[in-house]
């Protein structure tokens, strides 16, 4: 019983400690952002590796999600003879929710895990330590550019996801199931609000970008420098990012669209 209590105490203390370290890490990264901004070429390289290289998976997933939305939407709207509203349904689902959320989840799996493994291995192979001994701050030189690159990439990826998804819905709804092309687009244009829907979607993806990259980079930087430690950190990145994205999505949705 006493052991059990002691265990709970130990675990929660460790949790608090880790949260504190993560918060300090975040502050250090934000304060070390100068190099990433001044030498923007460093950031561009990272945008290529976390953003550009993620485009394929984002495009393919977006296409299929859009196609499924088109199909499901059509089947259900047809019951009420409301097929013309398919465009609104597909666009709003993607722009408000699925675009940012699924992009966040895919980003965590594709780019977040890679970031954690990269930083963790740099730590394991003493590259970070050697950089410190060369009087180069790894947070400024390595972490901050990646963080900034992730935050820039995420909304762009989410936008690509939504755009491709809308075409996927068009392809299934208009191309295969015979919804009128004009009403698909005009209904969408008439009912999707720029500031209410699109901007809120972009805000969501920026927040997810901050969360996912913070988690991924922190886990890599804080990893125990062994093969096992890096593998555990990578797993944690994917799990924590997924939970963070879904949890934050609920909070943001409630704030933006909930009227609470």
């Amino acid at each position: 019983m006493l052991d059990w209590l002691q265990n709970i105490g130990k675990k929660s203390l460790r949790g608090f400690e880790s949260t504190g370290r993560a918060a300090m890490f975040f502050v250090a990264v934000v304060r070390g952002m100068d190099v990433a901004l001044i030498r923007f070429r460093l950031t561009l390289r990272e945008i290529y590796s976390v953003g550009v290289l993620s485009i394929v998976i984002i495009t393919v997933s977006g296409l299929f999600v859009g196609m499924v939305l088109g199909l499901q939407g059509y089947v259900n709207f047809a019951k009420f003879n409301a097929e013309e509203s398919l465009g609104i349904f597909v666009a709003l689902s993607l722009v408000r929710e699925l675009g940012p959320v699924v992009t966040g989840l895919l980003y965590a799996g594709r780019a977040g895990s890679a970031l954690t493994a990269e930083i963790g291995l740099m730590k394991t192979t003493e590259q970070l330590a050697s950089m410190e001994m060369m009087a180069v701050d790894p947070i400024r030189r390595i972490i901050a550019p990646r963080f900034l690159a992730g935050i820039i990439s995420m909304p762009l990826l989410a936008a690509i996801f939504s755009a491709v998804g809308i075409f996927g819905g068009y392809f299934v709804g208009v191309g295969l199931l015979g919804v009128d092309s004009g009403s698909y687009w005009s209904q969408m244009q008439a009912n999707v609000d720029f500031s209410g829907d699109i901007v809120n979607g972009v805000i969501k993806s920026v927040v997810f970008g901050i969360a996912c990259n913070w988690i991924a980079l922190y886990q890599g930087y804080d990893a125990i420098p062994t093969a096992e430690g890096v593998s555990r950190a990578t797993t944690k990145t994917v799990v924590h990012s997924a939970l963070a994205v879904l949890g934050l999505d609920f909070v943001l949705t409630a704030l933006m669209f909930g009227d609470i």
């Binding site: 740099m122 192979t125 003493e126 590259q127 330590a129 050697s130 950089m131 410190e132 001994m133 060369m134 009087a135 180069v136 701050d137 030189r141």
Partner: protein
């Protein structure tokens, strides 16, 4: 201790005073005090796990001691600001055991890395400096290779070129001879000696390779269990009366440092399984 050594006259660059450090519950250093003298090759020897690498990290300010001081050129490494610590580190090179080259840059860019980070030199001068340092370690022809294409010895030589590219006043070698073939080992030994003499460096070598260290060090500290067991010139060390030092230098399997990890009586242990 033979304090009448010839080299003792030169002033210390690094002074360590009453250093205490522990990892978790395990004490690594218990009141260590020593000097590293300017212009010399100082060797630290001792069995694996005695905290030799930890000592280098304490000197470099990467770890903080639980008590005691580390002075470099009279500056207390743990009391100065992060900016001054970084200024100090620009003048210290460190050679990690693995080389610790940046894996996403090729050999040339690895050596150029400190120059690009700390100076605004034009490309032509960076190129000249990098090629000079690569020439010094004999790898000018390997400048286009990636770290993954290098052998262990080559990686260490590239790391050495990188460590001297800013012309430091001191360079610290962490196990520079471990895991190398005899030829490469000989190359590294010669390089360390040459660099020390030609560039007027102060060198610190942490190693458990007895012959190599004795052959180039001017002064040696033998460390075990967080304390200095013996110190002196290589010649005086060989004549040491300490049984432990003799065992270490000659590699006897048993002696004051026992062959067996502490365990219950052998017979009892075997019978206990029945």
């Amino acid at each position: 201790m033979t304090d009448t050594d010839i080299h003792i006259s030169s002033e210390p660059l690094v002074e360590i005073r009453d250093l205490y450090f522990s990892r978790g519950e395990l004490p690594i250093f218990k009141g260590l005090s020593l000097d590293i003298r300017r212009g010399q090759v100082t060797g630290f020897m001792g069995p694996s796990g005695t905290g030799k690498t930890t000592l280098l990290k304490l000197v470099g300010g990467q770890l903080k001691p639980s008590d005691g001081k580390v002075y470099i050129q009279g500056q207390d490494v743990n009391a100065i600001s992060r900016a001054s610590l970084f200024e100090l580190r620009k003048r210290m090179g460190m050679l990690f055991q693995s080389g610790a080259l940046l894996t996403d840059l090729n050999v040339y860019e690895n050596v150029a890395f400190p120059l690009r980070e700390h100076t605004k030199l034009p490309e032509q001068i960076i190129r000249d400096l990098v090629l000079m340092k690569l020439e010094a370690v004999g790898l000018r022809g390997a400048r286009k290779l990636m770290p993954s294409q290098l052998s262990g010895g080559m990686a260490r030589r590239v790391a050495l070129a990188r460590a001297i590219v800013l012309d430091p006043m001191m360079i610290m070698y962490d196990e520079p001879f471990t895991g190398l073939d005899p030829i490469t080992k000989g190359t590294i030994v010669t390089l360390i000696k040459q660099l020390n003499n030609v560039l007027g460096l102060t060198s610190v070598i942490v190693s458990h390779d007895v012959e190599e260290t004795l052959s180039i060090a001017d002064y040696i500290y033998v460390i075990s269990d967080g304390e200095i067991v013996e110190s002196g010139t290589p010649a005086s060390l060989r004549k040491s009366s300490s049984e432990w030092v003799q065992q270490f230098l000659n590699g006897y399997p048993d002696g004051p440092a026992p062959f067996h990890y502490p365990a219950p009586e052998y017979i009892q242990d075997l019978l206990a399984g029945r």
